[in-house]
Amino acid sequence: MKMMNCPLNGLRNISEFVHGGEVKEMPDPNSCSDDAWAEYVFYTENGISVVTEWWLHAPSGYWFIAERHTGSDEILKTYDPSVLFNKRVEFSAPVTEGMA
C-alpha cells in the first residue's frame, strides 16, 4: 500500500489520510472582487506540478501540509501547518447600512 509520512504520527497507510485541497492565500473577503472570491473558493490549478495541499490524518484528527507532484503522485515533503500559519486568522463582518 502507498504510504505517507504524518508529521505527528509517522509513516502510515494512505487509507488513513483525507485530502483537503490546495493551500491558497485567502483574499480579503470584505474587499476582494466576486471573481477573486470565486477563484479562491471554487477553482484549483489542476496542472502538472508540485502542489502544496492540506491533508488530514483521520485517526488523530490532525491537519498538516504536504507537497505532492501531481504527475508522479510522489509526496515530497510533509510538515506541520505552523510552518506557514503562525497566527490566528480573524474575520470581521463588513459594516452595512442600518448597523451602528
Binding site: 505527528l8 502510515r12 497507510n13 488513513e16 490524518h57 483521520a58 485517526p59
Partner: protein, 223 residues
C-alpha cells in the same frame, strides 16, 4: 456491597451505560457499581484465560485542548508526557494521554474508574467530551502484538511500541487510539474507539483473540 445487592445491579439501574451493555447482558456478565454505572466484574470463571478483553467504557475520562492545556493539567497535579503520542500514569492512578502538541486526554484510575477533575475545571482550555464519544476497551494478557497485527497495520511489538507509547491509527478499518499502559505488570493496551462502532470492534477483537485463547472478561481479571 452485599451479594444480594450485587445480584440486583444491572446496567439499566444507571443513566450512564457502556455502549456495549446489551452485549454484556446477553452474554450473562455479572455487574457491580463503579463510577455511578454498572461495570462488568466477571463473565464467570476466566482465571485461566491468557488474554482478556475488558470493557472500561463507564470509567471516567475527559480531554482538554488548546495552547494552555499542558500547563493547566500540570498545575492540577497531573503528570504530562514530554512528547505527543505518549502516556504516563499520575500519582493518583489516572493515566494522561498526550495526543498532540496541544491536546491531552485523562483516563480515570482503572480500579475506581474515577477522575479527580473534568474538563470544566480547566477554564482556559477547550473541553473534549470523550466520555460519550468514545468507548474504552482494555486488551490485557499475552500475544497482544500478534492479535493486533491481524487488525492493524502499525507494528505494536514491544521494540516498536514500548510501554507508554500511543498509536493513533486504523484498527479493523475504524479509527482508534491504542495506548500501551505504563507502570503495570504485564502487557495492557487501552483502545479508544468511536462509541458508535464499539460493538463492531468488540466483535473484531474477540474474533482476532480466538486463536490465542482470548476471551471477554471483567474487572475481576485484573484485581
Amino acid at each position: 456491597m452485599s451479594d444480594v445487592m450485587k445480584s440486583t445491579i444491572t446496567p439499566e439501574t444507571y443513566l450512564v451505560r457502556s455502549p456495549l451493555y446489551r452485549l454484556h447482558k446477553a452474554a450473562g456478565a455479572h455487574f457491580d457499581e463503579c463510577s455511578s454505572a454498572a461495570q462488568v466484574t466477571s463473565y464467570g470463571d476466566r482465571s485461566a484465560v491468557s488474554t482478556a478483553l475488558i470493557d472500561l467504557s463507564v470509567n471516567h475520562r475527559f480531554g482538554v485542548r488548546g495552547p494552555n492545556a499542558l500547563a493547566a493539567l500540570a498545575a492540577a497535579g497531573l503528570s504530562v508526557p514530554d512528547k505527543p503520542n505518549q502516556c504516563v500514569n499520575s500519582s493518583n492512578g489516572e493515566t494522561v494521554l498526550r495526543l498532540s502538541n496541544t491536546e491531552c486526554w485523562v483516563l480515570g484510575a482503572m480500579e475506581s474508574g474515577a477522575c479527580s477533575a473534568d474538563s470544566s475545571a480547566f477554564a482556559d482550555c477547550y473541553p473534549v467530551y470523550c466520555q460519550d464519544s468514545h468507548a474504552c476497551l482494555l486488551l490485557s494478557g499475552e500475544h497482544l502484538p500478534d492479535i493486533m497485527a491481524k487488525l492493524c497495520g502499525v507494528d505494536l511489538s514491544e521494540h516498536a511500541f514500548p510501554k507508554g507509547a500511543i498509536a493513533q491509527t486504523s484498527v479493523a478499518r475504524i479509527n482508534a487510539i491504542i495506548s500501551h499502559l505504563p507502570d503495570r505488570e504485564g502487557t495492557h493496551f487501552v483502545i479508544l474507539c468511536d462509541s458508535a462502532a464499539a460493538e463492531y470492534l468488540w466483535g473484531c477483537l474477540l474474533d482476532a483473540m480466538g486463536e490465542f485463547g482470548g476471551q471477554a472478561a471483567g474487572l475481576d481479571y485484573l484485581f
